[in-house]
């Protein structure tokens, strides 16, 4: 049976792995290569590396960062940040990742999705859309300008899903770093609408947030960034907790807490 994935997003700013809050505040965590090594060792299902400085500084993809990271990673790795052309896509994959994540370029040049897919295969193209909730409506958020747009997020994601895209990474700006859980309403609606695998991100503060997302939505992967930085064991504890409740979670044979009784949900402060 295909498992749903627990994915870690490693946000990198100026070559430091950071904790992100509301897409505005960034607190350094440490070296991204160490973060990736530990996540891989602790058996995370997948890692998405996002360099948020690359496009802002008009640089291409951070290939040097990828080269520092790949040696210790034995789980699937995706990279986003500064990818603007076919050449960028090819160089990024060749540098050592399975999939590229396209964000800001989608608005300027959406045809890059299909053009890229024609060469590297649609499975290697992830479209990343940040969404902002305002007055009970959902809009696409432009992170380069740090502002919400007038574009209806639900319709936009639906349109993108009809292109030759492999997966769609959906990130809530409002909930980023707040530890109050995912935007379940939005995720439930969009995952019921489209047949493209969705990676949900933004808002996780405790194990129960993953639980809620898996129970109430049809997303293919639940992703978080900050929670995995605050405890070495968080990957294994999260997966053990979820495996007790769901069949379709992957858990390694070696170390797990399947016999542990999780009485209360744990919130990281």
């Amino acid at each position: 049976m295909l498992k749903r994935r627990i994915v870690a997003c490693v946000v990198v700013k100026d070559n430091w792995a950071v904790q992100s809050i509301g897409f505005q505040k960034y607190l350094p965590i440490g070296k991204p290569e160490i973060v990736v090594e530990y996540l891989s060792r602790w058996n995370i299902d997948e890692i998405i590396l996002i360099d948020i400085s690359a496009s802002k500084k008009h640089k291409g993809p951070n290939l040097e960062l990828i080269s520092r990271i790949i040696n210790k990673c034995y789980v699937p790795l995706s990279y986003g940040g500064g990818i603007k052309s076919i050449q960028d896509i090819l160089l990024t994959i060749r540098a050592g990742v399975e999939k590229v994540v396209l964000n800001s370029i989608i608005y300027k040049n959406p045809t890059l999705i299909n053009e890229g897919a024609a060469i590297v295969g649609s499975q290697s193209i992830i479209a990343s859309i940040d969404f902002f909730k305002s007055n009970n409506k959902y809009f696409v958020y432009d992170y380069l300008k740090s502002e919400q747009t007038n574009i209806n997020a639900f319709e936009f994601i639906n349109d993108i899903s009809k292109m030759n895209v492999g997966e769609i990474f959906i990130n809530s700006v409002n909930r980023d770093g707040l530890k109050q859980g995912y935007d379940i309403d939005f995720l439930k609606n969009i995952s019921n609408k489209i047949n493209t695998p969705i990676i949900a991100c933004g808002g996780v503060g405790s194990f129960t947030h993953f639980d809620e997302c898996l129970k109430k939505t049809k997303v293919s992967a639940t992703c978080a960034a900050n929670i995995f930085h605050f405890s070495e064991h968080s990957v294994i504890t999260v997966k053990s907790y979820l495996k007790q409740r769901y069949n379709d979670i992957r858990i390694g044979d070696d170390i797990n807490y399947l016999n542990f009784s999780f009485h209360n949900s744990r919130t990281y402060k």
Binding site: R4, P76, G96, V120, Q123
Partner: protein, 204 residues
């Protein structure tokens, strides 16, 4: 020590396969140079990407007839990963109808998306081993590996070593004499993936 050449035909992420083999103590290099491939004990064709582009690249590099000789005549051990396995087929429906290497009579078809199945088939899925005579899949039955593809390998039972389930049953691994293929990515399947690569190194 046995030498493995990872074929560079411009498709996908080669570094992770090399990295994985090296971490197992294997001796490998990435190349599309015939002189280096001729001296290899085994060949790995990794890859993710479009089938038609892959065949065009192999053709441009003048590798198709050469690989036929190395694998079908000289019988070097061959491991195709994901796209590298799909290239074994006679024909693929991806990007129009395109011819493959035709080393295993088969057709590459789109995965069924009825019942709102998400496409691509992406994530960790268990395999069930049906034939492990060659020991490539030792200790792998029932284990989860990483898959990421929209097309699947359709062939006769006699070539199939393992299946995965996605509503329907599909081919997860194939074998025909010295030729092996895995639809999943052993280089990205953590410890169990390294087990498969280690098994391959041991059977060279």
């Amino acid at each position: 020590m046995k030498k493995i050449v990872i074929i560079d035909y411009g498709m996908g992420n080669l570094g992770s396969v090399k990295n994985a083999i090296k971490s197992l103590g294997g001796n490998c290099l990435i190349s599309n140079n015939k002189k280096e491939i001729v001296n290899a004990d085994a060949i790995i064709m990794p890859g993710m990407g479009a089938f038609d582009v892959a065949m065009k690249n192999l053709d441009k590099l003048n590798l198709i007839n050469f690989l036929n000789e190395m694998v079908l005549v000289k019988k070097k051990k061959y491991l195709g990963i994901c796209l590298g396995m799909q290239l074994l087929a006679s024909v693929s429906e991806e990007g129009g109808l395109n011819k493959g290497l035709n080393w295993i009579p088969s057709k590459i078809k789109k995965i069924n998306s009825d019942n709102n199945k998400l496409i691509p088939h992406v994530g960790w899925n268990n395999i069930s081993v049906s034939n492990n005579k060659t020991k490539l899949l030792d200790n792998c039955n029932g284990k989860a590996f990483y898959f990421d593809h929209s097309y699947h390998f359709d062939c006769s039972k006699k070539y199939i070593s393992a299946y995965f389930s996605y509503d329907l049953k599909y081919v997860a691994a194939v074998n025909y004499n010295n030729i092996f293929g895995t639809q999943f990515h052993p280089e990205r399947s953590s410890k169990i993936g390294l087990t498969v690569l280690n098994n391959f190194i041991n059977l060279i």
